[in-house]
Symmetry: C3
Subunit: 315 residues, 3 copies
């Protein structure tokens, strides 16, 4: 594997999930693979789970890890081709990416969307320029429109907890006070559409996701109906795609509560974290036996390790 | 050892100090112990000595080290249980702690007091919540009311330099321009009260420490008297406990000088650093043969390594 | 080698460049040398290439690496001897340096000039105090007036690309919108003056460098003339030395273009990066076959590794 930016970069989704579970059983079985290999984790935005789990995964594989918060430790990046750089940006992304490729065998990159210009965000300008110029394999640590390591960890978690061959998985929109990216729901949707699950998305009117990510999903504005007999409920806020990056008024009653969960098939509740307690989900849900959010976060290690293992094997 | 938050977590203080000195003699003797183990050092506040010495100690033991300045690299933490998180905090400490416990075998945590609400600070709310939810052993890298790795390094330093079985150790308040926590003097006091020393605390009126930490100490407002025949003088500023977090006017003459040291038994001068030169201590003291502050800082490695070794042995 | 702060610390410049190229051919040949040794990379200013390449070099040698952005993670440093520290600085550099020396076998330090007080900058006050007090070998990661790891990488790059025994190397001033240090041109000049090259410096009037660094160089204000038959063109902006730290009006036509390159002997174009595209150099130059700037940045690893290897051998 030379690139991990979406589910489309994965040849066999089921096999990758199984590899993650195998690594979870034997975390240190491939330490020779990463010996004398360096991964550079580059962050243009904050990170907790992604940073720690990917660093852990790489170290489990015997790699050296260099973490660079480039927004704080490095130089402000110029993104426009042909720019006359007489402003505040100090280095062009094409030069920064090419240089980092000189120092790393694999690069991980996190870059959030601006949520101002939909075309720019959905063109994945930053991520794709980085990939183009760095000349080494790149793993997405969440880009403008996708968060594939999260989605792989989510799939692994569903594999572990499912009690039937084809569970019902419901992605439900949740309230939030800030405008959040669509990266997690986009990514979760495109992974679920390739998995052996019945996949339902429910959200208030106006929060339709880009249809490129939801082919094959059942989509409804009726949360109550969607939750019926669900085996997994994936809770997540996102801002509007049509009225791009906007938070629409109302919809506070979309918070997931224990009461709403009664209609499900004793569903496991998932969330990528961080979660706004008592806004997106109630405390009573998060602190109940139904919640698997911490376990799910733990699976981020094995998802990252499976991807890095395949990348190391391709070097 | 599953927790290192105060002297009360230590079964045998003398044995731990001796272990630190043994590790100083053979720093790399236990590298197999930490193999494939990860410590996550989490900072909510700045750090120099603690960060470097603990990272070094962990690496000496063969551990992988992940450093996270969570205040800068991660998300703003919510501390109140039951909060409706519609404000600026992004993640609840109970979730962040639980997640980090998924990625680490041991966690080190630094969190300073707010110095606004004494009850809150002295309840060690942040530190204790972290311990409660992270589910792995935790070592304090300085909490609201204690700095036990510093105190252990101080004890080790006294062991190295003492010339009699039971030396006289004087903790003397020193001036400062800012309101500082009571963590270092609290912690030093409770360690000294368990050590084989004659322990005297001297400070201006109004700077009384919480009595829970000073049981067994002689306490006086007369600095000159306290210093007589001292073998060790430990210099430190702290803000008031009664008028909580306040700097009281006056007391500039409490700065330690070479002249004041004449009354001592050729005492060694200690300080946890960073030190405000010519405010807390004069240059002439810090740059004299009497000062052991750099040596003392060096001992932070062996203190941390002794604690981490015992934690690794308990995993 | 106990100190690497300038070319004057190097016994045999050619031999060091050859060592760098040997390490490039066998990056992991000396991993036992750095085992259980710790380098602490201390940054008072941002860094991309220097941070990553030095970290990589140290890891190639088997060292443990601790990175400290002391300006962000640590305490504000006091630089004046004898200061009464009742202001904003928290720790004196002499104490911070001495403490770090307790935790590191080698220290790397980056500290930029203030560009306000020429005497202070050119006395290398910060760097030299650090060296004086830390008590372990120190490698400059760029100081107020020099950037020797960059210069060694530049020399290595010239060695790789030269097609004649004694190539012509031209350092040409380039426009910029900000006042930049003289560290890179100073350092490049003093390394080139010791190398087997014909060395020419060209810059607009008013941008004369300190003559201490340029002994043996041909210096001219005529860029066109300087470029004739050049084998290497090293492009770099710097602020004025005489009108210290100033950007003088005009000189925008000093940007290097493909057209100007025609006069050269098919010269390779070098730059230390980061580069302001279309201000210092045109896109067409940077994106042409003539540019070796990324390759040059890659050589930073081998330059650092050669220096660290010699330091480790002297421990």
């Amino acid at each position: 594997m030379r690139l991990f930016s979406s589910v489309n970069d994965v040849q066999d989704v089921d096999a990758l999930a199984k590899e993650a579970l195998a690594l979870k059983a034997s975390p240190f079985a491939y330490q020779q693979l990463g010996k004398n290999k360096t991964i550079c984790l580059v962050f243009l935005n904050p990170s907790l789970r992604t940073r720690l789990s990917t660093q852990k995964a790489a170290q489990n594989l015997g790699m050296n890890v260099i973490v660079l918060n480039i927004d704080k430790e490095g130089w402000a990046l110029e993104l426009q081709d042909g720019a006359v750089m007489n402003g505040t940006s100090v280095e062009h992304i094409k030069d920064a990416a090419a240089v980092m490729g000189e120092y790393a065998d694999i690069i991980g990159l996190r870059s959030f969307p601006g949520l101002k210009d939909r075309d720019e965000d959905y063109s994945e300008a930053i991520f794709n320029k980085f990939v183009k110029y760095c000349n080494v394999p790149v793993v997405s640590l969440e880009s403008a429109t996708r968060h594939p390591l999260q989605s792989l960890a989510d799939l692994v978690t569903i594999e572990e907890f499912k009690t039937k061959l084809r569970p019902k998985v419901v992605l439900t929109w949740a309230p939030h006070i800030k405008a959040l990216p669509q990266a997690v729901p986009n990514s979760f949707a495109e992974w679920m559409c390739k998995a052996n699950v019945d996949f339902v998305i429910t959200h208030p009117e106006g929060y339709e996701l880009n249809r490129d990510f939801t082919q094959g999903a059942t989509i409804t504005n009726d949360q109550d109906e969607a939750l019926i007999d669900a085996d997994f409920v994936y809770v997540k806020n996102w801002s509007a795609y049509e009225l791009y990056g906007k938070v629409l008024p109302g919809n506070d009653d979309w918070m997931l509560t224990l009461d709403k969960l009664k209609a499900t098939n004793n569903a496991k509740v998932m969330h990528c974290l961080p979660v706004r307690r008592n806004v997106e989900l109630s405390d009573e849900v998060l602190d109940s036996e139904s919640s698997v959010v911490i376990h799910e976060a733990g699976n981020r290690v094995w998802a990252a390790q499976a991807v890095l293992k395949q990348m190391l094997e391709s070097l």
